[in-house]
Amino acid sequence: MSDQHRPGVPFDRDDPAERQLWESLQDMPQPEPPPRMRRRFYDELDRLGRQPRSAQWREWLGLAGPRGFATAIGCVIVGVLVGVLLRNSEVERAELVALQAQVTDLNRNLILDRLENESASKRLLGVLDAAGVAQHDAEITRALLSRAVDDRVYSVRAAAIDAIGPRVSTPAVGQELMGLLEKSQSPIVQLALVDLVLRHGSARQIEELMQLSERGVLHPELQQYVKSAVWRDRT
């Protein structure tokens, strides 16, 4: 039998006491396994041998018997939880996006409504609210420009010019402003718009303004006004 006492690995220590200890280990009594251990092993081997491959796999993966039932229940619970979590996060994300869109829309309508309101104080509030969003929304920009050039109340007009001023150089506001200037027939409106460009516009916008002036789009008196203002700035 291969598991009977063996001579052991070579002992290459010089100490005689250690060597004697090593030798004496050989005489240590050895425990014998109880006979039931052999029976138990062969019973298990027999049981496993009788199982088809699939059953063996189920057992090894913990999917057989009561343990398997628990594993299956556990898998279902985990699956449902993961599913619910994934679903909830998607639904929440979609709801949040929809909610944000609704709030933005509501806010936009409120601003436009205020800018067109009969009450000057409401229009003033609308101008202040519109200042923050004008550069992202063409319709609000147009409404704000319209307050800046032709509101009948001076304080609203001044507030609108102040609100638009810092944003004139942004492409969205600048484009609207130039479009309005081209369409406008009133010299007073044109003057207000020209002032905005001269005060806050970029070099490119001032160049565009000069071109409009040369093409005769502006009122004749304004053409001279633009020319001298540009000349003054350049010198």
């Binding site: 070579p10 006491a17 200890l21 004496s24 009594p29 050895q30 425990p31 109880p34 052999r38 081997l45």
Partner: protein, 191 residues
């Protein structure tokens, strides 16, 4: 010399003939049981561990690589299973309870003559106690090197290290055993 080698048997087990595991069991279960008893000092735990070792052999037979002997592989599995079990049970293998000692002694079968018993009984008792007292890592290397393997290459495979490391571990383990014996006996073992 065995007609069929362990390596051939495990190959047949891997090929689906589970009955060959019976032969491997007959060849090695005593040594595995003794190793487990030495490490756990618990009869019941050792029986469970032997069962687990041979069932693992059946499950993982196809992963046996013929770089070492099947025996070294079996003891490597036995070692892993035993250490896992000890960790799981939270057992401090240095601190063996009285029940464990009794269980261990209950199973001892004395094959020696009455003269040998009379001459070396006290020494043997002390060697046993010293062996039980040294750290589990030292105890296992002494046990496997003294009773299971006869070369360092195979011992190293069972321990999962190189032969050089196994040799160093054996030296340190024997030093630990010797100093523990000295402390208990007050003198070196009779030479």
């Amino acid at each position: 010399m065995q007609a069929v080698t362990d390596e051939q048997l495990i190959q047949w087990v891997a090929d689906g003939d589970a009955s060959c595991l019976g032969t491997l069991f007959e060849r090695h279960h005593r040594a595995v049981y003794r190793y487990c008893m030495q490490m756990t000092r618990s009869k019941a735990m050792s029986e469970d561990l032997v069962q687990e070792v041979f069932i693992r052999l059946l499950r993982h037979a196809s992963s046996f690589r013929a770089e070492g002997t099947c025996k070294a592989w079996i003891f490597n599995i036995a070692r892993n299973v035993t250490l896992d079990q000890l960790r799981k049970a939270g057992t401090d293998v240095h601190d063996l309870g009285e029940q464990g000692e009794e269980n261990a002694r209950e199973q001892l079968v004395d094959h020696r003559s009455s003269e040998q018993v009379a001459a070396g009984y006290q020494n043997l008792q002390l060697v046993e106690r010293a062996l039980a007292e040294i750290p589990a890592a030292a105890r296992e290397v002494i046990w496997l090197g003294r009773f299971v393997f006869d070369d360092y290459e195979e011992l190293a495979r069972a321990l999962g290290c190189t032969a050089g490391t196994a040799r160093v571990r054996m030296h340190r383990a024997m030093e630990a055993l010797h100093s523990t014996f000295l402390r208990m006996n007050g003198a070196p073992i009779d030479v």
